[in-house]
Every structure is written in structure tokens, then in C-alpha cells.
């Protein structure tokens, strides 16, 4: 080996080792922080999810751990979903009392509007929240609960109240208000909530059935 190559090799090795040491320190820092923060973050996320669910389904309606009841359902046209979505089954005293479903309004002004819809066992909407959207700020975004209370008018509505001909904005002869100049967004949301109610009507029997692999709470099993 010529002396130049030896020097070059030595240099490369030296910089490599230094880079390695920095990578090691950085990784150690991240690992330490992650280790310290992860339980707190997970707890925070669960609390957040629980708070969101309780916004669409009153806590008085159930006594089971709603988060633990999460089920995955296949994509469905009525839910507007193209991928598997989640739903949560509420029970009180072991009896089916309501459901929270993820749904999508695919025909918003700028694409999908993600919704969380709560429905009680009798098929009445208990609450709706927009969880993600790209509607125009200041125009169509009033469907977001953080911007206005518009979305509250779904509470207590069902497939018979109003009847199916009136699940529209007032401008189209329906029962729901909408702001002038921004009717595409509310139309999409109203349609999605109506479809979710149709989905609920089709699947209510399955929701109310005892959870698979788990004995109903009112029937103790002898081991």
C-alpha cells in the first residue's frame, strides 16, 4: 500500500467512527425520550379517543369499556368507506345500547369528509362529528364542530324523523339548515349520515347479538 492510500483509509475510518458515535448518541437520546414519554403519550391518546367517542354517544348510555369494544368492518358503500373502518359497540348491563361508527362522506367539495356517528339502540342519532376534512376555510368548514354548532342538528334524528324524503338541506326541500353559498358540504354530510342510518338498520341484529367468544354478562358460565 502506498502511503497516500494508507492516509486516505485512516481518514475514512476516522470520520466513519465519528459519524457512528454521533449516530449512537442520537439514537440513545431518542430511545431514552421515547421510553420516558411513551406511556404518557399512549394514555393521552386513549383519553382523547374516549373523549371523542363520548361526544357522539352520551356516556350515560353504556357501562362497558367502549374503546375495548372496537371492531373492524369491511368497506361498505353505505359507510362510504374504501378501506376497513372501525366501529364501537356500546352495552349497558350487557344489553346492546348503541354504536359509534366511522363513516366517510365521499362527495365533499374537496374530497372525503371523515365522520364519527353515534346511534342509539333505537336508531336515533346521538351525535355526529367531522374528524377530518379539506373543505374551504370560512365557507364549507362550518360542519366542523370547532367552527359552528351546525352538526348538532342531527341529534335525535332517525330514518323516520324526518322521513327519507326530507334528509336534504332546506334549499332542496329537506329538513336541515345550510348556509347560503355553501350547500355542497352539508349535502354530503347529510347524505352520509342518512346512509350510516341505513347501514345501522341493516346490521342492527348483528350489533345486538352477544359478542363472539364472550359469554353475555347476564349469564355466568361455570368453569
Amino acid at each position: 500500500m502506498t502511503p497516500q492510500i494508507q492516509v486516505a483509509l485512516k481518514n475514512a475510518l476516522r470520520t466513519g467512527v465519528i459519524l457512528f458515535v454521533f449516530a449512537l448518541i442520537g439514537t440513545a437520546m431518542l430511545a431514552f425520550t421515547h421510553d420516558r414519554t411513551e406511556p404518557v403519550i399512549t394514555r393521552g391518546q386513549l383519553a382523547e379517543k374516549r373523549a371523542l367517542l363520548s361526544q357522539v354517544l352520551p356516556a350515560a348510555l353504556y357501562d362497558n369499556d367502549l374503546l375495548a369494544s372496537q371492531q373492524s368492518v369491511a368497506p361498505d358503500d353505505l359507510l362510504g368507506t374504501r378501506q376497513a373502518s372501525a366501529l364501537w359497540l356500546a352495552r349497558r348491563g350487557g344489553v346492546f345500547s348503541g354504536v359509534v361508527m366511522e363513516a366517510v362522506a365521499p362527495d365533499g367539495y374537496s374530497g372525503d369528509i371523515a365522520l364519527l356517528i353515534g346511534i342509539d339502540a333505537n336508531g336515533n342519532v346521538t351525535g355526529v362529528r367531522v374528524t377530518a376534512h379539506r373543505e374551504t376555510p370560512g365557507l364549507g368548514d362550518y360542519v366542523d364542530r370547532a367552527k359552528s354548532a351546525w352538526i348538532d342538528q342531527f341529534s335525535g334524528k332517525s330514518l323516520t324523523n324526518p322521513d327519507s324524503g326530507h334528509w336534504k338541506v332546506a334549499k332542496d326541500g329537506g329538513a336541515f339548515d345550510a348556509r347560503a353559498g355553501a350547500t355542497i358540504t352539508p349535502r354530503a354530510v347529510i347524505k352520509a349520515v342518512k346512509s350510516a342510518l341505513d347501514y345501522f338498520a341493516q346490521h342492527r341484529a348483528a350489533f345486538a347479538a352477544p359478542i363472539r367468544g364472550q359469554a353475555p354478562a347476564w349469564k355466568e358460565t361455570d368453569a
Binding site: I18, F22, A23, G26, M29, L30, T37, T136, P137, G138
Partner: protein
Amino acid sequence: MMTMNEFRSLFHNGLIKQNTGLVQLLGLCPLLAISNNIVNALSLGLATTLVMAASSGAVSGVRNFVPHEIRIPVFVLIIAALVTVIDLAMNAFVHPLYLVLGIFIPLITTNCIVLARADAFAAKNHPLHSVVDAIAMGLGLTLVLLILGAIRELAGQGTLFSGIDLVFGKAAKSFVLHVLPNYHGFLLAILPPGAFIALGLLIAANNWYKVRTVQRARTTVPVAA
């Protein structure tokens, strides 16, 4: 240690002469994305300042151990690790604030001004100077963000400080100033093109002011002589 003059010149440099938003034109991606109202703008500005101060201090502290050829990867590593640590810590310990700023924190990594200051200043200077320089640069960016946010919010929705309740809780809702009552909004100002137009006008105003100052100096010198 640091003299008052050095301190002042670093701040003059960061806030005016080398202002990242108006002169260096660095870090425009987050600048344009987040400046649609004052609260967002101020939050991103302060978060960026915090990250810059931390990363410049760290880079300056290790500057004598880093060979020239691999300084950029090492600096990127330091900045990315620091941003992630701050992101995780905020998520865990100041969660309400994180809900507001959360989206901006990873965005800060995309801000080339952080790396630019690390390489152009912190890699050659004492840690104390580097931290002061980073804070000055960060505040310069915050200032531009604040002006942009105010212009866009005022033109776009006729208010100032909307969304402040997200930072200070529900009680702060009354801080929102409805400067133009019954204003129907000017959507363009809130959408991304509004950011480009407003920033363009700001840069133009800044350049006009600079040119005018130079011309005045020129015209007054012969008279005095």
C-alpha cells in the same frame, strides 16, 4: 463572553439585515403554509425559535469534534434528534399545547433555515453567540410570520387572534378581535395563493424601503460635501 455591541449586531442581523423570511428567503414552506392567521403564525414562529436555539447550541458545542467532510450529516442528525425529542416531550407533558402546535413541530425539520444557521454560524462560533444568533434569526422569522398572519387573517376573515382559545383555553375566546364586523371574507387571502401574494408585497415593501434609504444617503452626501 459577549459585549453589548456584539449582542446588538446579532439581533440587528437576525431581525432586519439577514431576515430569513424577507432577505434570505429561507424556510418558505412552513412560512407560507401556516401564516393564515396570527395564532398559527406566532405558534410556529416560537416553536421554530426554540428548535433553532437548541440545535445551534448543540451544534456549536460539538463543532470542534466534527470533521469538515461529514459536518452536514452530523448537523442533520443533531437537528432531527432534537426535533423528535421536543416533539415527544411536548406530546407527553404539555398535551393541550401539543394539540395546537403538534402539526408544526415535524414541519420545523423541513425548515432549511435551521440547518443553514447551524452550518453558516453555529459551526464557527462560540455556543453563547450561536444561541443568541439562532434566537435572533428565529424572532426575525416570527416577526415576518406575524405580519403575514395578521394581513391574511384581516383580509381573509376580518378578525385578529381567532383560534386563540385553542392556546389559552375557552376563556380566551373573548380575545378574538372582530375588526371588520359583518365582513364576508376574502377567501383568496386564506388559501395558499394569498400567502405568496402577501409575502411578495412584504418583500417588495422591504426592498423599496432599502433602496430609498440608499438613494437618500447618496443624494444627501454631495450636498453635505
